[in-house]
């Protein structure tokens, strides 16, 4: 990188994976080897992805820092930039700058049980942590993943869900909202907070990581509290609108905290001190 904070790395789209209606995953490789060698990131961080001539958009890095040589991002086609990204094909060149933001303290979780709870398009930020944990599986005790989407079609990373399902060292529970099931659906039916309550994972020595739409988070936290989880052991990521990614452009703040600098990762205990501005 140069002195210019706004200069992106040039990245080649190595692989495009269709995940769900309007949702794609890009595997990105650095055009310049020097950039690739210098680049490091940790679970939870994000970046600015750009199509030259259209603009930049903010997403998390969805791949694990344990997988070197590439990064992945998963996005839903909704606005101007994500539409342009969606039109990019394998081999196209896009911009990426980052990594920005704080990280999940994965190293501090050694010896704990991990409980992942995700809803819809919020699985990508969690997928980064899940693979990070599974790649050093011996560091953790039980790993439980509860993932829900509105309909069966909307579940992302379907092939990885199958992987996790088959693994003996992972307990995977998938669910869809009532009415979202297909005739051959074998998972749970119900909203994520309801299913968490039904599965009732133990809070003993357990870290809960919760990512999802605000309404899901709002209803999941009380369930976790009922199960005995301390606020300090519940983690989530916030997703306010951003432009710069490094605390200058002035729009992602929640009270005096910048989601781009002090977050995106916050504990439920920290969220209690924040005003309702996310």
């Amino acid at each position: 990188m140069t002195d210019n904070l706004y200069m992106p790395y040039l990245m080649r789209i190595e692989k495009v994976t269709y995940e769900a209606p309007g949702v794609k995953t890009f595997m990105l490789k650095f055009i310049n080897e020097e950039d690739e060698n210098k680049f490091t990131f940790r679970a939870g961080q994000f970046g600015e992805y750009s199509v030259y001539g259209v603009g930049e958009s903010t997403f998390c890095i969805a791949s694990s820092p344990t997988r070197k040589g590439y990064i992945e991002c998963t996005f839903r086609q909704t606005g101007k930039v994500t539409n342009a990204l969606s039109n990019c094909e394998e081999g196209s060149i896009i911009g990426f700058r980052g990594p920005y933001g704080n990280t999940f303290p994965v190293d501090e979780w050694k010896g704990k049980n991990l409980l992942f709870i995700a809803g819809g398009i919020a699985l990508p930020p969690m997928r980064c942590v899940i693979w990070n944990a599974l790649d050093v599986r011996e560091n953790f005790r039980d790993v439980t993943i509860i993932y829900g989407a509105r309909t069966v079609k909307d579940l992302v990373y379907k092939h990885e869900l199958q992987d996790w399902e088959r693994r003996k060292d992972v307990k995977l529970v998938t669910t869809v909202d009532p009415g979202g099931e297909s005739p051959d659906w074998k998972g749970e039916i119900g909203f994520v907070p309801t299913i968490v309550e039904k599965i009732a994972p133990s809070s003993k020595d357990t870290i809960a990581i919760v990512c999802g739409p605000p309404v899901m988070i709002k209803y999941t936290f009380p369930v976790l509290a009922k199960l005995g989880f301390q606020d300090e052991n519940i983690y989530t990521t916030l997703e306010n609108r951003m432009k710069c990614g490094f605390g200058k452009c002035g729009r992602c703040n929640v009270g005096k905290y910048y989601v781009c600098k002090d977050g995106p990762v916050f504990t439920a205990a920290q969220l209690k001190d924040l005003p309702d501005e996310y």
């Binding site: 911009g95 432009k243 200058k248 600098k261 501005e277």
Partner: protein
């Protein structure tokens, strides 16, 4: 460095201007057009306006232009080539006639652009700017610099501060920085050494209107106050307050494409706009205007002092002068101070 005091004769200002021009400096100074005074590049001394209380726009534009190119790109058969803005290529600018409230605003902008990540585009532009401040001998009802640590003869942010010694008088020149010394060295004959002059009696008397520390403390418990709604009912969300503010630094980043090439630019933005925080999903953390007005006041009088140890307001009063709905930040701050929380 110590502040050097000099006397400069009133007819020497024009000579100084000409010498700076001969030394290839671009001079930006207040010029009057259509009853509006703004900073423009001045070709000759006669183009400069005096007697203004405040320019319509602040002088921040020389270091933080309203549109700043960040990079250029060209798409070609092999892929794409991208070139970042050359930060060594910015022009040498002398900013002439800056009021002390604008000069101090530079420090506040710098705090934003340099906490944590350093914005070298901003820093490099600023390093090429020399600020010639002019003290205020007059004020209007919107001025409140003394309530936010400023004063009409404040030297902070200026490289040289000129104070007019009475109607039709000569000037005191206080040389504050190395950049100021460099200007003196171009025209040493014009600056007469004189340490005895006292400027105070030639300055406007700006009354202190509120206690900023008290307001900061009140704001800590004021987030849910009904007052935000009351105060912002008139707000049109036009963003004018942010555009004229010497310390507002919020920006947007956009691409401008022309066929196969184009640029990425950053441009001024405002927390008063409803789109400012709108999520792609349609969710907006600051959905209504009162939440956006609250952000403006909280950012300047609570978050910035907490995070950056500076207040985001210099008391220039421009936001109140510019507001088409006649909102007045001074009145609002006083009402916050009066509230019991």
């Amino acid at each position: 460095m110590n502040i050097d005091k000099h006397l400069i004769r009133k007819d020497s200002l024009e000579k100084l201007f000409d010498i700076l021009k001969q030394n290839n400096k671009a001079i930006y100074a207040p010029a009057s057009k259509n009853s509006k005074v703004s900073f423009k590049e001045a070709g000759s001394f006669s183009e400069i306006t005096t007697g203004y209380i405040q320019t319509a726009q602040s002088s921040k534009e020389v270091a933080f232009p309203r549109t700043e190119k960040l990079l250029d790109y060209t798409k070609n058969r092999e892929g794409i080539s991208v070139k970042g803005t050359d930060i060594k290529d910015f022009p040498e600018i002398v900013l002439w006639g800056v009021r002390p409230c604008d000069a101090t605003g530079i420090g506040e902008l710098s705090a934003i652009f340099n906490w944590d990540y350093k914005d070298e585009i901003y820093n490099s532009r600023l390093s090429h700017v020399t600020v010639l401040g002019f003290s205020c001998s007059a004020l209007d009802e919107y001025c409140f610099c003394t309530s936010v640590d400023g004063n009409p003869g404040n030297t902070a942010g200026s490289d040289i501060l000129f104070t007019k010694l009475g109607e039709d008088g000569d000037y005191l020149a206080e040389v504050i920085t190395e950049k100021g010394l460099a200007i003196v060295s171009l025209a040493p004959g014009l600056f007469e050494k004189d340490v005895e002059i006292k400027k105070e009696k030639f300055l406007a008397e700006v009354p202190v209107m509120f206690d900023k520390e008290e307001i900061r403390k009140k704001l800590e418990k004021f987030f849910e106050s009904e007052q935000w709604v009351e105060q912002s009912l008139k707000c049109l969300g036009c963003g004018a307050c942010a555009y004229v503010c010497p310390t507002c630094a919020c920006f947007d980043i956009q691409d401008e494409a022309h066929g196969k090439s184009g640029s990425r630019v950053r441009c001024w933005d405002s927390c008063g706009f409803s789109l400012f925080t709108l999520h792609t999903s349609g969710h907006n953390p600051r959905e209504v205007q009162s939440q956006r007005w609250r952000q403006r006041i909280m950012h300047k009088f609570s978050y910035m002092p907490d995070r950056l140890s500076v207040y985001g307001c210099t008391g220039c009063g421009r936001c109140s002068r510019a507001c088409p709905a006649d909102m007045n930040i001074l009145e609002h701050l006083i009402s916050i101070q009066e509230v019991t929380v």
